[in-house]
Amino acid sequence: MLSQPDIAALIITLKLAGTTTLILLLLGTPLAWWLATTRSRARSSIEAVIALPLVLPPTVLGFYLLLAFSPDGPIGVTTAALGLPSIAFSFWGLVLGSAIYSLPFVVQPLQNSFAGLGRMPLEVAATLGAGPLDRFISVVLPLSKMGYLTAAVLGFAHTLGEFGVVLMIGGNIPGETQVLSIAIYDHVEALEYSQAHWLAAGLLLCSFLVLLMVYSANRKFHLMKTI
């Protein structure tokens, strides 16, 4: 069964994935909206930057973040100037790293969803007297429900499975920065296969159930649309 440190790793993992997803949904919404509606030439470059974590080895990202977190790095200098503790090897360092690492998984579904709406619903809402924020809340958000569900699930699940970035910037401090994927690695290193099994199979099952939920919701949604 699960040991005390395993349970702590589980809780940290869920907390990390939940916090990261929430932050990404909040920040990803204006970013995705801008990408979906802008005609700016900068769009392609920004899209490429956001998509980088899809192709980069996580260790590359982790390496640069580690440099940035160091007392001489830009983030380390900033936190020191603000009188805050360094975020290297801390939970909030993990949140920042995960947010960058999972950004495309949240922004892309939102962007696709916003772009798929077309301009019609927004124009109609404007002629009926709705201002920009009102239009977003009363028309865009409800019509992008599936986009938000997909973005949230992908962002959450992707953070859940993170390994390389966490190892580089979080280290492996039990009860503080040790997440499930690293706990599994530790168990395997120590030849504790049964503990590794409990965690690995649990993660596998959880991920499957979450994805199943998204796909069946998606299917129901598409059926609703065709009726």
């Binding site: 019609m120 619903p121 124009e123 109609v124 809402a125 404007a126 002629t127 009926l128 007297g129 709705a130 201002g131 009102d134 009363s138 028309v139 409800p142 019509l143 609703m224 649309k225 009726i227």
Partner: protein, 360 residues
Amino acid sequence: MIEADLQLSKSDFKLDANFSVPGRGVTAVFGPSGCGKTTLLRVIAGLEPEATGSLSVNSEQWLDASARRPVEQRRVGVVFQNSSLFPHLTVQENLLYGRQRLRKVTKPIEINQLIASLEIEKLLLRYPGDLSGGEKQRVALGRALLAEPKLLLMDEPLSALDRSSREKLMLLLEKFLQEIDIPVFYVTHSSEEVARLADNLVLLANGAVTDHGFIQDVLGAVDGELSRSDTAFSVIEGKIATKQLPGLISVDCGAGIVLQLPDSTAISGIRYHSGSGVRLRIRARDVSLCLEQPQRSSILNILPAVIAQLSAEPYNGSRVVKLDMAGKQLLSKISEYSVQQLGLQESQPVFAQIKSAALI
């Protein structure tokens, strides 16, 4: 008054529309596909931010060199070509979307009465996905009107509908648009819709306004763009006569003019009651001229008239003749050869043979 002097340049299209029409009644924006009708409507609504020029609607300035009023403050009701209902809201929520956003409800419209006259009372709890095309357009019209617009814009609202629902919605619009006291811009490429609904006409070709004004003035401009086209037509108003000949419908147009039409009600299923007002659309190419009254002709309507005006120049070998039939205006399109042969000239009395007229 609605006064517009609007410009918009896009990569493949240029709009330069300058017109003024009365601030009440139905103004049809008429022209062939691709001439910029929809773009003009979008500019008036404020949906094209790059548009420049000036626009005033009943002395409210919506656009000039210094300011542009945003869409949501113009209070325009728009009925788009395709369904524009919000799919995530019920019919009732759709209907109230604009009204809930009014600062102050000034006109206490009887909501229930409006819903009843649009025949949508049974649809209120449904979602737009479950409605037919005609139902969607009726809901969209109701939603626009409940927001108390200062101008109602309709962009070919019938074009996406099948024949029978088009006819049904048309009958409703005829009644409706005359009753509401806000100006309406109605974009169409159908001369039938113009003839049935319009009080004023704005003609558009290649992004420019070629003529504008009262419908009879614009239709009767014999040298105008419309007269040159194949669609040149006249509109005559009348009433269904009390006395009918067998197999015919008689329309009394006043001043002793009675037009006879074949009774097609068995097919169309529309019932006309004697005394009810109707409009007739008569194509200019269906009207020919004789100097003497023809005898024993199969043509039902042969009426005395006086030539009011001839088009200055023949166009494609034809000339348009404007006739005065006891004060009613009628257009005839005949060949230049016939004009020369018969020696036709202004103020000459003739007989107009109307080969066919559409009761619309």
